[in-house]
């Protein structure tokens, strides 16, 4: 491990993104934060951004700010995420609600528009619970069937898994781009093609991709996507989610939570609901402005660094962690629960051991903060702009010491 630590320090010394680490607030008592895939850290300039917002935008411009800047914020911010992270042209991405609520809206929009013979939603049995729960509820209320894919839990869903599950009965396929457990990365383009070959629509959950792995939604012909902004976009706890709806579906797909902010003329107070053109129909209620502030600073950083460079550093970080695992943790009986090839892996590395529930408690008290996932997984989430190579390695060493 001595060699690896030296290598980590060397990587940090020539890391072109290293300086971005100073952009985040200090966390006294925390020596390694390895949960950026659950909750990204706040930026150092956020309090002054919030102060300006409170004093000026809200406190002085008051209600006038809706006209001046807030009404368009969901689409302006959506476009920015789309351009910087998603490969999405303007007008297809919007920030709103929570991931769960957006999943409901988009899944309902998709299955409600499907032909009467398309009675199945294909979903992976290891997908994040909220994705499965939403699908389960919609299937029950719309009289549809869930068709489960059961891929290998480490390597994740493959094209063949999907091809074998879709048919002329499929209305919609819902998958995560990066598996929340293993970090396995799905082949977006090939899988989307396989879904389209069956005549179904494809919805990607990008919660563990956005901000750390570039996607090409337009180029892949993706129909629908959702994602969260409090992981690698550092929007803060419970910051609103985003939805992408490909322009070819605008005016065709309709989400069911019809609200005044998704109406064509918001202030007409008209007697019947007439949806807005374009992505705006997917908004329902008043946009959560305060929750949209923090992520803007992180988008500035990603724009400066470029998402491609962020992805390169992400691969280097997880590679180093896998090598440290081989040296230090495998001999202790810890299992690697993530793909070994960085090209097949997202921004986190997952390891397993029966003692990890207890180990996590110890680590948290000691200021080393990974993420525990039931029943016995530790996820080492490495947010490239705020995490150094040495910090990542120190996390692995802390796990080793806690097990010893």
């Amino acid at each position: 491990m001595t060699d690896l630590l030296a290598e980590g320090r060397e990587l940090d010394a020539r890391d072109p993104l290293a300086a971005y680490g100073d952009a985040f607030v200090d966390a006294p008592g925390v020596s390694a934060y390895l949960d950026g895939n659950s909750l990204g850290r706040p930026l150092r300039d956020l309090p002054s951004r919030l102060e300006q917002f409170v004093q000026h935008d809200w406190g002085t411009r008051l209600i006038r700010s809706w006209d001046e800047q807030w009404m368009d914020l969901p689409t302006r911010l959506g476009d920015r995420i789309g351009a910087l992270c998603l490969g999405a042209a303007a007008g297809q991405t919007v920030v709103a609600d929570s991931t769960t609520v957006l999943l409901y809206k988009l899944m309902r929009a998709a299955v409600d528009a499907a032909g009467p013979d398309r009675t199945e939603i294909v979903i992976e049995e290891g997908n994040f619970p909220t994705d499965r729960f939403v699908a389960e509820g919609i299937a029950a209320e719309r009289g549809l069937t869930l068709r489960w894919i059961a891929p290998d839990p480490v390597t994740g869903v493959q094209v063949a898994d999907v091809s074998g599950a879709v048919s002329e009965r499929t209305a919609l396929v819902v998958l995560s781009h990066v598996d929340y457990r293993s970090g396995a990365l799905a082949e977006m383009s090939a899988i989307t093609d396989a879904v389209h070959a069956s005549g179904a629509l494809m919805l990607w959950d990008l919660c563990h991709s956005v901000g750390v792995i570039p996607t090409e939604l337009d180029a892949c012909g993706v129909d629908l996507a959702v994602g969260c902004t409090y992981k690698y976009l550092n929007g803060g706890p419970g910051s609103p989610a985003f939805a992408y709806v490909n322009a070819r579906h605008h005016g065709v797909l309709r989400q069911p939570v019809q609200g005044w902010m998704g109406a064509g003329d918001v202030f007409a107070m008209s007697s019947a609901y007439a949806p807005a053109d374009g992505i705006r129909q997917f908004i329902s209620g008043t946009p959560p402005v305060l929750g949209m502030l923090a992520m803007q600073g992180m988008l500035d950083l990603i724009e400066a660094a470029t998402i491609e460079a962020v992805r390169e550093k992400s691969k280097a970080l997880t590679d180093l962690v896998v090598r440290a695992f081989d040296e230090e943790l495998a001999p202790l009986g810890v299992r690697l629960l993530s793909p070994r090839d960085a090209a097949l892996r997202g921004g986190h590395v997952t390891i397993g051991h029966p003692d990890f529930a207890e180990v996590t408690k110890t680590l948290w008290q000691d200021g080393v903060i990974p993420d525990f996932r039931f029943p016995d997984g530790i996820r080492l989430g490495l947010s490239p702009l705020s995490t150094s190579h040495e910090e990542a390695l120190s996390g692995v060493l802390a796990v080793r010491d806690a097990l010893g």
Copy 2:
């Protein structure tokens, strides 16, 4: 008007709540803010509250804050709103989502649980658009009929309007406690009784009540309620809404947006959705923590002042504005679009004139900020803890001058 201005100053001088005005941030260039019923003003201590949150709760405790304080925040804050403002015992109120999304969840929960013969939703044709749009969408998707009440637009919905509309076919009645246009106050107890006599459920929209008019949801036997927190609770633009579900419906009514945060065991990552007991089932996604901070300061103020005293000042403010209207605006052809009796009126006074679209533009530029509502209404929204009697009168004078 000279006498009224003197009276206003006298009322301010002996106003027991006058000192609370200092709790709000200064708004340079704004001489009268009369739109507290659309967007309440931020508190002076909010930036330091946000700084503490960014540096400590989020920035240092990081993911640990979910266990330490955030997971329970939606119900803890809901209970507080329930106790201070709603007459609701603990365990029935939760903060989440937007008003629109919560309206969807609660309306769906109600109509989905109704018997097959209860095929109608009763709603008022002048209700706020989002309430009507949500009901319209649900009626379409569930094969239900909307039955419209058309009350007098100034005096608002009366018991007789409701009694005449409900029947054994009614599943749900949806009404606003305070009419967003006229400010007319509905008789919550008598109307709820009339709805219950028909065997239907009652959902009250409290957007224009909460924080300015005490309600007694438990005592009135109300089934369901929603409300927003960015008006008289000063939660900031797009802060999350709240839902009240009477305890007798827990475990019976089920909302359709099944998410991980509404599951019985959030982190079990179980294979099928099992709803949480109690009000927590009405949560779907990750709670919007940042959006729940600002309202906490306002709840502190309301607790100190008491909601009853807030209501008393609200009546005094609107009374004064109505008297000023009689003196200064009625002679110019302006119409009073709110009830004259303060006991029948909420926290705002609405006036009408064909020139008000233009007048509002002029006033906004001059730092006098009421609310314009299509086609020709100005609402003078008076938030009792941040608005003085003199400020309210100066708003009326500014309208007069802009018309002259």
